[in-house]
């Protein structure tokens, strides 16, 4: 099963290497990882999607927690949370088919963020299912290149993951 872990870490150089190294060394599978700054400049937050049974996830969590610079690890999987991914998709859109592409983009409530004579760049945000569906819908037109973030997640409601 896939789990979404939210990991609060000290904002030090090398923390990402420590986390990545831990996953590599212990043979855990990272499906996606997103890192960035938080409301507190001293901290970064990683959202890690990892595949494994309950026992593996428990080990992952505890091993992560052992890293000195990891402040908190929380498994969001069974909690109410919002999660989003973002993808930028450069799709072939020659004049005859351009209208069709634009229509699909509208249906998905995505955006067009760059236009050239032959191509469009589509920006789509949403949960994993929506992003995947958008990609599938555009595939027949010819995707020239694509980039996507890992998953980002926050708990719903007032509760927050903080250093204390």
């Amino acid at each position: 099963m896939r789990h979404t872990l939210s990991v609060l870490v000290e904002n030090h150089p090398g923390v990402l290497a420590r986390v990545a190294n831990l996953f590599r060394r212990r043979g855990y599978n990272i499906e996606s990882l997103a890192v960035g700054s938080t409301e507190n400049p001293a901290l970064s937050r990683m959202t890690i999607v990892v595949e494994g049974d309950d026992r593996v996830i428990e080990q992952v969590t505890r091993q992560l927690d052992k890293l000195i610079e990891v402040i908190k690890v929380e498994n969001f999987t069974k909690e109410e949370h919002v999660n989003r991914e973002l993808a930028l998709i450069k799709v072939q859109a020659d004049p005859p088919r351009r209208g069709e592409v634009i229509q699909i983009v509208d249906i998905f409530r995505a955006h067009i963020v760059d236009v050239s004579p032959e191509t469009l760049i589509v920006e789509v945000t949403g949960d994993e299912g929506k992003v995947a569906a958008m990609i599938e819908a555009l595939r027949p037109f010819g995707i020239k290149e694509m980039v996507r973030t890992g998953k980002l997640a926050l708990l719903r409601g007032p509760r927050a993951l903080t250093a204390e």
Binding site: E10, A17, E58, Q59, R62, K66, I68, I71, K72
Partner: protein
């Protein structure tokens, strides 16, 4: 007070109560060595950085205080790696300081640059690269704190040459701020109650005591628990000495080369109380059939160890000493005469023995060392058969008296570790029980032992083989002795060439006088015991087999 980074480092070491540093100089640590020149901290110059790390480790294991080693950048730092990994696997508080190229050159493949923080990331509890001399005191404080608290482990601090050479105002650091590091010492009282309930209803309890008992200093509590509930105690290799080997409830060591009675007791137990052990594969054998009928209580300070290898019914996170104290409060006397009787029968039927056939037997030698030292020596070991015979045939009765590389199994550990032990315990008799293969991995340390008047005794159980590997080839590879026979130097002459003493022993009756001579000698001594070449370590659990099914 304005001081250089090197001087600040030494100040910090003094603040931490460090008496001795094991090290080896080079360009990137010149400012540190310059501070050592007139400083108050003792420095022991080893002949290889690996030995400096092992000596610091031996010092730490013998005393429970952190051991400190120091090396230059590049090759100096990489030479420490095996020593650091050894300390990591056995949770030993070693602190390694390395020189680094100047900050302006880092990342440019400068002369003698090695990314030692990158290299040691998976084999340290934590490591630091100090980029500003103003951070140095804080980092050193944090390094000692991390290495010595919670589950102990090695920490490396990498110091670029411009940082150790730079001057700044020195102010002692008193506080450590590590928001992500909060080891748990006190057990959850609910779990303690659950454990007490399981113990009260158990009819065939067994305690497995590991290295954590020694780290925690919990021998007294362990003895009290065992006597209260009348549970026999098996120790792991790392737990040896954590429970007195001569106690009537002692089962000796369990696992691959454990006693039959320890392995039988665990296999037939209905309750396993595992304290301060990570229950690795050498202990459990085939995991599916490990203690198949037992409920499991597992106490460990590292939450990641609970349930890692063995399923646990009552996991208890905390320090062994505190957990055992809390547990004892809830327990009553709980005799199990039938169970203890069964164990006595096993002990009588399957004692640890060897065939005394008039030839020079390694087990006999270890037993003689035990007799001559009245069981009171500090014994380091190398790795292989020598290590197992030391574990089986020397009866250890106090913690920190058996010093061995268990987790990594590092040949070459024992001799430099024994040097560190002798530095820590100058009045005590120290032995390294060695193999002819292992001793050659750090034999150069004879120079260290001689030059600092450290009268370490090295008992080389010389079988002319990489014996442990040969044993596996004999048993599982149809005696195809592929590259395990050794050509050896004359160890007596080698010792003498370094200014140490050498004694060769070929007959059983020569053993005792040779040992007495070695112990009486003020010099380091190599005892070259020419033993039966194809003696095996028995009993043995074949790889992948249940621990209840032993050979020999």
């Amino acid at each position: 007070m304005r001081l250089t980074g090197g001087e600040i480092l030494l100040k910090c070491l003094q603040e931490e109560g460090v008496e001795v540093v094991f090290g080896y100089p080079g360009g990137a640590v010149l400012p540190i060595y310059d501070a050592l020149y007139e400083g108050e901290i003792r420095h022991i110059l080893t002949r290889h950085e690996q030995a400096a790390a092992h000596a610091a480790d031996g010092y730490a294991r013998a005393t429970g205080r952190p051991g400190v080693c120091l090396a230059t950048s590049g090759p100096g730092a990489t030479n420490l790696v095996t020593g650091i990994a050894t300390a990591y696997m056995d949770s030993s508080p070693v602190i390694a300081f390395t020189g680094q190229v100047p900050t302006s050159l880092i990342g440019r493949d400068a002369f003698q640059e090695a990314d030692i923080t990158g290299i040691t990331m998976p084999i340290t509890k934590h490591n630091f690269l100090v980029k500003d001399v103003k951070d140095l005191a804080r980092v050193v404080k944090a390094a000692f704190h991390i290495a010595t608290t919670g589950r102990p482990g090695p920490v490396l601090v990498d110091i670029p040459r411009d940082v150790s050479g730079a001057e700044t105002e020195y102010e002692p650091v008193t506080e450590v701020k590590l928001p992500g590091y909060r080891p748990v010492y006190d057990p959850d009282p609910e779990r303690i109650k659950q454990a007490a309930k399981l113990i009260a209803t158990s009819e065939r309890p067994v305690i497995v005591a590991g290295g954590g008992v020694i780290h925690s200093g919990a021998t007294e509590e362990l003895v009290r628990l065992a006597e209260l509930i009348m549970a026999p105690v098996a120790t792991t290799l790392m737990g040896i000495g954590g429970f007195p080997g001569n106690h009537p409830l002692s089962l000796g060591m369990l696992g691959m080369h454990g006693t039959r009675y320890a392995n039988y007791a665990v296999s037939e137990s209905d309750l396993l109380i595992a304290v301060g052990t990570r229950l690795d594969d050498r202990i459990t054998g085939k995991i599916e059939t490990f203690a198949p009928e037992a409920k499991v209580i597992h106490i460990d300070i590292d939450p990641a160890e609970l349930g890692k290898n063995v399923r646990v019914d009552v996991p208890i996170v905390g320090d062994v000493k505190r957990a055992l104290r809390a547990l004892i409060e809830f327990l009553q006397k709980n005799p199990h005469p039938a169970w203890l009787e069964k164990i006595e029968t096993w002990k009588r039927e399957y004692p640890l023995t060897f065939e005394a056939n008039g030839k020079l037997k390694p087990q006999f030698i270890v037993r003689q060392i035990w007799e001559v030292t009245e069981g009171k020596a500090r014994i380091a070991t190398e790795v292989g058969q020598n290590q197992m015979w030391a574990a089986q045939f020397y009866t250890f009765t106090r913690p920190r008296s058996f010093i061995t590389s268990g987790g990594l199994g590092t040949m070459g550990f024992g001799f430099p570790a024994a040097i560190g032990v002798q530095v820590a315990c100058p009045e005590e008799v120290v032995f390294d029980i060695a193999g002819d293969g292992s001793i050659q991995m750090n034999i150069q340390e004879l120079a260290t032992a001689v030059s600092y008047d450290l009268p370490v005794n090295v008992a080389i159980l010389n079988n002319g083989f990489l014996g442990m590997v040969r044993q596996w080839q004999e048993l599982f590879y149809q005696r195809r002795y592929s590259y395990t026979e050794l050509y050896n130097p004359d160890f007596v002459k080698v010792a003498e060439a370094y200014g140490a003493e050498g004694i060769r022993v070929t007959k059983p009756e020569e053993v005792r006088p040779a040992l007495e001579q070695a112990i009486a000698s003020p010099k380091p001594v190599f005892l070259d015991f020419i033993i039966e070449r194809e003696e095996n370590v028995m009993p043995m659990v074949p790889p992948g087999e249940s621990i209840g099914k032993m050979l020999g």
